[in-house]
Symmetry: C2
Subunit: 408 residues, 2 copies
């Protein structure tokens, strides 16, 4: 891993994948086909892309209940505990509508209203993503969204993984369709005979899903389009190089475009971590991916002091930040830009990715400068309330007219 001194302009930004011309055209065509032919288009496209011949996309009660037999009880318990933790954290984000009154009879306020309906995209394919279901569904439920629809592509056998069905079931999600790709996004945005359109679509997906979300944005709201994952570790000389190397590599393993960065005040630690990364890389099953990620987007910055190190972190504005310094909590107040801050040696990223409670859908690619983790606010909106009394209007009418004339 490269060890470099801090330069004026550090950045881990990568180009956002906007797909190829061919991909964009394919997505446009799919959306148009779904708008024109509804369910029939969904059936054809699901057969074409997922290899599944499905007459009724909707998951039945029997499928949901049957999935429990395939799941280990201890895993179900772990899922339940994660759900409790995530729900508890998001409950604390909930906000109340408020009104304020004045003696002249004026009432002003802010009404918080949940969205009517939300569609959650859950990726399928080689792996199953129960955590993605929890992280998208729970904030919507806490916000009070009445209709939550889940879509996820089935395997060629027409089935969803048991872990996906059980997680949905534990969350009491009842409207689930076995569809995926751009066609699922189109169905959620425009509706078909059997699927009613929603107001917002969230959740991760491949490039076709991302392009479809971009294309329907405006018709419906969408969450962010996530870039490759990032970790920045901020550490001083007392941190453990082996742990740091392991955390950097577990991010690098995800994706060749993932970024793993160490910012440290210790030249010695920098050198130890560089060696550890080499050592730990060798036996990894996903060695090739991790190697490419470390080579292209991995770097160790050695800063003169903690002030400079923190400045580097704020410039990077990472998705995940781990603080491994002597008094890590004391530094949190100086971190201006980060999606999630993992404090101290017992808080590695998986703690937050699957279990602790905060959301794992985080701003990437430097957008933590102005974006937030997915949260309850994303599933509500505000309306202003303005009620003037006769007296308030009489007192203030001439001022309001004067200000209005200023802009005529």
């Amino acid at each position: 891993m490269r060890i470099v001194p801090v330069t004026a302009d550090v950045s881990i930004k990568r180009d956002i994948d906007t797909g190829t011309e061919t991909q964009r055209e394919a997505v446009e065509a799919i959306i148009q086909q779904v708008r024109d032919q509804g369910d029939q288009a969904i059936r054809e496209l699901t057969k074409k892309f997922d290899g599944a011949d499905i007459e009724n996309f909707r998951v039945t009660k029997q499928e949901l209940e049957g999935a429990y037999a395939e799941m280990d009880q201890s895993l179900i318990e772990a899922l339940r505990e994660a759900i409790t933790n995530i729900r508890d954290f998001h409950e604390r984000q909930k906000r109340q509508s408020w009104l304020t009154t004045k003696e002249d009879g004026t009432i002003l306020g802010q009404k918080i209203t949940p969205l009517d309906s939300v569609g959650v995209y859950v990726p399928g394919g080689k792996a199953a993503y129960p955590s993605s279901i929890m992280m998208n569904v729970i904030p919507a439920q806490v916000a009070g969204v009445e209709r939550i629809v889940m879509v996820s592509p089935a395997g060629a056998d027409g089935k969803l993984p048991a872990s996906v069905l059980v997680t949905a079931s534990e969350l009491n999600v009842k409207e689930i369709y076995k569809i995926g790709g751009a066609q699922a996004v189109a169905a959620l945005a425009y509706g078909t005979e059997s699927i009613q359109a929603v107001d917002k679509i969230t959740g991760p997906g491949n490039i076709y899903v991302a392009l479809a979300k971009r294309a329907v944005f405006g018709k419906v709201d969408i969450d962010m389009i996530a870039g490759p994952s990032e970790i920045v570790v901020l550490a001083d000389e007392q941190a453990d190089a082996r742990f740091i190397a392991a955390d950097l590599l577990s991010q690098a393993e995800h994706d060749e475009q993932a970024s793993a960065v160490l910012v440290t005040t210790s030249q010695k630690l920098a050198e130890q971590v560089a060696v550890e990364v080499e050592t730990q890389l060798a036996p990894l099953p996903k060695k090739a991916i991790a190697e490419a990620s470390i080579r292209d987007y991995g770097v160790i910055y050695v800063a003169r002091d903690l002030v400079e190190a923190i400045d580097v972190v704020n410039q990077l504005a990472p998705e995940h930040l781990e603080i491994l310094t002597e008094e890590p909590m004391n530094l949190v107040g100086r971190i201006r830009h980060a999606g999630a801050i993992f404090v101290g040696p017992y808080s590695s990223e998986p703690v937050g990715d699957y279990f602790a409670g905060p959301n794992h859908v985080l701003p990437t690619n430097g957008t933590a400068r102005f974006s937030s983790p997915l949260n309850v606010d994303d599933f509500t909106k505000k309306s202003s309330i303005i009620s003037y009394s006769k007296q308030a209007l009489q007192t203030n009418g001439h001022k309001i007219s004067a200000l209005a004339r200023l802009e005529a």
Copy 2:
């Protein structure tokens, strides 16, 4: 004005103006020129488009102070009162960071951090928009944004209107540049020798400004791109047809694409308002604009009862909603989608546009289904905090591993 019964699918959506190919190419070229040549490009483009030959764009202290001589004292007082009202309302939106602790040593939390820097675009040209300055700058200040930059195109004389300078001065905005158009947006997004880049750009503008904001989105954050203005009046038989017609027309006057809609339970009121609109249209200075707006985007819906009427309002999801019924406040809880709700006969739209306190930057074109008025949250972002203790990790480590393996 057309009087129609309620049909299944009511909507006031209009096509969003995405500009012509020529306009989009012009904007791309301007942005590139500013990125390549910085201040020199800004000078050339300002001369070309605004007709102003400006060496130093930055407004001086002398200009700010000098503007007061041109402003009526009572108008300054009205501005100050509006600023107090707007600041008071937005202070109530402010949120605190929070932490929660568990007995096993776990600390979880949500840190709220203001954005570092924001650029506010203030349109110039024929009119001055002090209210736009207040509505964009105040929420950013309340959020705690340290650097607030204002840009506004000067007249051919190289000057900004006195009302703009005085409003900025009253708000203590000190970094103001006399630049406008796509070149100002490019300067804010990418920076030049004399203007440092910002993290977010807000504020309304013409089609070139809107296209430039779209083009730089991703590099920086932007607020919404506003569509034409809308008003929906919800009224029963006791409402005053003259007032309603006046409010509908004052919206229609803004823009040929503006939309003015009455939803009423009273056929009689519907007919009265239709007549009143005709009568009041005739003498209007902007008659042609108002007439086109009413013709193309004006309609009176007659609903069977209040339930159906409210359903229509929620389907329309209007930017501005006026409720003129017998017990208007009692209906607020049934309004799910509206940017701002004006309650009762003394709360017409200008009350909220200029003075009362709530923000006048509101979601248009049906986006009130999922968007909010501009508010303090728009100028902050959240970071999650996760701190596990040794004990917490020991207790939960195996569950976290099991959940992680589920997704491998």
